[in-house]
C-alpha cells in the first residue's frame, strides 16, 4: 500500500513537472540550455568486417546551449558472423551534438545536427556451437556522423543517427571457414570500425539549471 502511494506520488510529480515544463517550451523565449532528456535506442551495425547485427540500449542528454547538446549512451549489439560466430559489442560513451540551425522551443519538425564523440567498448567473440571457444577484449573508440531529430512534440523527439565508429584497440577476428572456428586476438592496434545507424526516442524531462 505504501509502495503504491509512493509510486503514484512519484508519477504525479513527474507528470506535473512535465506540465510546468511544457509551458516553458511553449514560450517564444524558451531557453534550450539545461534540458535533460531520457530515451532508448535501437542500433543497426553494418559495413564491419563481421557483417551486420542489431543492438539495444539507452541514453540521456544534457543540452549545453542553443546549438550544442551532449548525449551519454550505453548499448549492446550482437552480430552474427556467417551463422558460426557470435560477436557481441558493449559501448558506453558520450557524444557532442552540434545544431547548425537554431530551433527555439523545438517547434521545427526536423532539426539536423552533426555528432561526434568517444566511447569505451568491449567485444567478445564466441563460437556459436561451442561456448568455450571464445575471446574478448576491452578498448576505446571514437564515432562521428550526421543525424536529425524529428520533433513530434516540443518535448518528444525521434532521432535518426548515422555514425561511423573506429576502434583504437587490439582486434578480434574469426576464421569461419575452418572447423572448428578459430578466433584470434591481434595484439597490434588496428583501425577497425563499423557503421552504426541508430533510431532513438527521447523525452525532455525538465531543466537541470536556468540561465
Amino acid at each position: 500500500m505504501k509502495c503504491n502511494k509512493l509510486f503514484f506520488s512519484f508519477l504525479s510529480s513527474l507528470i506535473l513537472t512535465n506540465f510546468s515544463f511544457s509551458q516553458q517550451t511553449n514560450s517564444e523565449n524558451a531557453n534550450s540550455s539545461g534540458y535533460f532528456s531520457l530515451g532508448a535506442r535501437s542500433t543497426f551495425s553494418s559495413f564491419g568486417d563481421e557483417g551486420s547485427g542489431i543492438g539495444t540500449g539507452g541514453q540521456f542528454r544534457i543540452q549545453a546551449g542553443e546549438h550544442v547538446n551532449t548525449e551519454w549512451f550505453a548499448d549492446y549489439i550482437a552480430i552474427n558472423v556467417n551463422n558460426k560466430v557470435r560477436s557481441e559489442y558493449m559501448h558506453i560513451g558520450w557524444s557532442v551534438m552540434y545544431y547548425p540551425f537554431a530551433n527555439p522551443g523545438f517547434k521545427k519538425l526536423f532539426q539536423p545536427y552533426i555528432v561526434a564523440g568517444h566511447c569505451f567498448d568491449y567485444n567478445k567473440m564466441t563460437d556459436i556451437s561451442n561456448n568455450s571457444n571464445s575471446k574478448n577484449r576491452w578498448g576505446s573508440a571514437v564515432q562521428a556522423g550526421i543525424a536529425t531529430h524529428i520533433n513530434l512534440t516540443p518535448k518528444f523527439d525521434i532521432s535518426l543517427t548515422c555514425q561511423y565508429m573506429i576502434h583504437f584497440t587490439e582486434s578480434l577476428s574469426a576464421d569461419t571457414d575452418l572447423n572448428p572456428v578459430i578466433i584470434t586476438k591481434k595484439n597490434e592496434s588496428a583501425l577497425q570500425g563499423h557503421l552504426l545507424s541508430t533510431i532513438s526516442f527521447n523525452y525532455k524531462i525538465g531543466h537541470l539549471w536556468k540561465k
Partner: protein
Amino acid sequence: MEKIKQYYFLLLLLFIASSINSQSTEVIRPGLIRVMSTISPSKMLSSNNAYFYLHGNLEVYLSKKISVCGDGFYFLGSQTQNPSLAFMHNLFYGFSYHFTKGNNDFYLSLQQGVAISKVSENLTSNHISSVGLSPVISTIAGYNFYVSRFFHFFVQSRLTLGEHNYDVHQNISDIRLSAGLGFNINALKSK
C-alpha cells in the same frame, strides 16, 4: 450459486455505471495508466513454428499523443510439433504515438528490448543448449477503445526482429497478435 450471480450482477452494474460516467469525462489524457494481460499467439517469419505467450503491458501517457510503455512476454508453449525453440521470453520498452478521437485510440509504437531464449536440445549435436540474451526490435500497430474510466478493449499486432546466436543460429523474428480487456486509471485529475 445465488451469491455468485449477485456478484456478477454487481460487477455488471459497476461496469455500466462507469461506462455512462466515462461519456462525460475525458479518459485519454496525461496521467492515464493502462495495464493489461492476455494470451498472445505468434508465428515465426523464417519457419512454420508458432508459439504462444502470456503478454503483459504497462503504459503511461505523458501527453495525449505520447506514451511510454513496457511489455513482457512469457513463453507458454508451442502450437506446432518439433519446435526449434525450447523457450523465448521477451522484455520490451519504448514509446507509442497515439491518434485519438473521443475514446478511440489508434497508435503506432516502436520498442526495443531483449529475448531470453534457448533452442531445442534436439537441434544441437551434444543435445545440450544454453540460454542466450539477444537484442530485438519491435514495431506495433494497435487500437484501444476506452469504454470507461477503468476498462478498455485492445487489439495489437507486433512485428519483432532478432536473431538467436547461441548453440545454433536461429532467426527469432516473428509476428504476434494480442487482444482482450485491459484496465486503466487516471493518476491525475483533469484540468
